[in-house]
Subunit: 351 residues, 2 copies
């Protein structure tokens, strides 16, 4: 097992919590079983990045892993992430997630297959909104019930709260950039910062360190590593969303283009492309009927314009910034090693 | 001021919390202002029933009102309710709430009026999902930061958690009954119990009492009052949803019929109506094009079949059950008086 590997322990904590919730739901009615099944399917995938960063933030700050408390607190972030994914897929009308049908499509199919008289699609969407709400509630419940000392929980709670608010605001800004149309690289970067970089890496690290009672020096060092790494992580994800292998991403090729995501990659391309290339990208971006040939055409514009190279250069720059911050951070050697590994995993070209 | 009136104090706590969140959001970006404005507009209405029941549960259990702690904990339930309303309106595609445009319609109108190139309707819906998520997070944050002693918060937390899970499960069952079509009175009552009765009255009372460190006797007595009163409350709401005055309900006349809600009133009517009446109700229920004449026709079926009388009889029975439980409850006289008043307010024919 790699040094950064706490996947098994995080999974045990996460699935253990869900299993403890199960009887309560089924006592309300056996009709709740499909909602639980949809959650089980969703949680069977995923990289558990946020719990891993939270755990290593704790360790970096000198927290001891005694097999309790911190694993539940860290794993609670995966329920927050599950909520965000389920709601995101409803908002984007995404058909797939982690290589499976998205939650709303799954529940829509259940209603359709059963031959019920009501409209299946709004049922699926409504049920997914509710499952996302349940996951959001359960994340808070799992965090509070983690078993960490009340004094330590009180240190972490402001970070946990801030993380939730920041990601929701970042998602709103993302929607806003989408409806407004063409925006600046700077505006796209603000979305990346709040929707992704802080939420995925900076705040989980910050939370773990805060829960361990870290001093300001360790917290600042971890945040100085986490924010640029988080930006690099999202920029890599954006590149994979256009150029990635569907087998690795779990999403159809070019899905980000079809969804019309206003990524930094797109903003860079629009800045650098010639008039014809920019016009083509503006015209086809967000077209749900974009086929393989259309995706190939847009890929060409993004590569030829220098948008792709610009994005790769940014990834390199932010990754180097994170590495330098980590090298200088006043933390234990094993945590440094694990965070080095996680940095590579988060920004690898093939994920 | 009536004895049960803590509206002013609850409002101060609630709006004070939102005001404390405001600078943080605006520091992320001035673009967040419309989201805050939508929340302000939503919170300007509402009866604050859940906070009031929570507060009086606390007082009934001997909790002292020293102007702190419990008001914030109680007011946090209004943010939970705001989340539920915003998400409900998205799920039901409701245009109005509390006599104003619903949040998703308000934000959709903003995008349309600005002339932005993206699609306004999905933007409004997505933004409303996110605002609901924010309210749900903030409810938990406000509860935890209420300032109540950690030991008391720990007593209340399981009830708060249960309340959230129950209402979300109840809402899912409601969607399920809707898509499945014709169901039994019993199935409709289960939805009422979880989506509404427990959530609106039983659990808020329970939570307040638990936060005050109440013994099992007081908790059981309050729950024995709260559950039947909560059922009566929802049945009254269902009657008003069909027969109510739009000026009082804040919703267009017959909106529940247009939305196709599978209420106890509808189930009772289908059980009691003749074949022609039942067929008419089944055919027109959930028809978005139902006009005033159509609403009048369905009202006639519901009244003539005895469905309405059956529902009124149930309201009377549950209200009496609640009153008897309250009369026998081992609680202080001022709390009993306030809860008597709240019972009347919650089940009045004109609300």
């Amino acid at each position: 097992m790699v040094k950064s590997g706490v996947r098994k322990e995080i999974d045990e904590a996460l699935l253990g919590f869900v299993d403890r919730q199960r009887p309560g739901l089924l006592s309300i009615g056996a009709d709740l079983a499909p909602l639980l099944a949809a959650l089980d399917a969703l949680l069977s995938g995923g990289k558990r990045l946020r719990p891993a960063f939270c755990y290593w933030g704790w360790r970096a700050a000198g927290g001891v892993d005694d097999g309790a408390g911190i694993l539940d607190a860290a794993a609670s972030l995966e329920l927050l992430q599950a909520s965000a994914l389920v709601h995101d897929d409803v908002m984007d009308s995404s058909d797939t997630r982690r290589g499976q049908p998205s939650v709303h499509r799954r529940l829509e199919a259940m209603a359709r297959d059963a031959g019920w008289p009501g409209a299946a699609a709004p049922f699926g969407e409504g049920a997914a909104v509710l499952l996302g709400d349940l996951c959001l509630s359960w994340s808070g419940e799992m965090f509070e019930r983690s078993g960490l000392e009340p004094g330590l929980l009180a240190l972490g709670r402001p970070v946990y709260d801030l993380m939730r608010t920041e990601v929701m605001c970042g998602q709103y800004l993302d929607l806003l950039e989408g409806v407004r149309g063409r925006g600046t690289v700077e505006a796209a970067l603000r979305v990346v910062e709040y929707k992704s970089a802080k939420y995925t890496i900076e705040r989980p690290l910050h939370l773990g360190a805060a829960l361990a009672g870290a001093g300001a020096g360790v917290v600042e060092a971890l945040r100085a590593y986490g924010l640029p790494l988080g930006i690099a992580f999202q920029l890599r994800d954006d590149v994979l969303g256009v150029f990635g292998d569907p087998a690795a991403t779990g999403k159809p090729a070019g899905d980000d283009l079809r969804e019309g995501k206003r990524t930094v990659l797109v903003a860079l391309t629009l800045e650098r492309a010639d008039a014809a290339g920019a016009a083509l990208l503006e015209r086809r971006l967000g077209d749900p009927g974009l086929d393989a040939a259309g995706v190939a055409e847009l890929r060409e514009v993004i590569a030829d314009s220098g948008g792709l190279a610009g994005c790769e250069a940014m990834i390199e720059r932010y990754t180097a910034q994170a590495a330098a911050a980590l090298a200088a951070a006043p933390i234990a050697a094993d945590a440094r090693g694990a965070l080095e590994e996680l940095a590579v995993a988060a920004t690898a070209r093939l994920s």
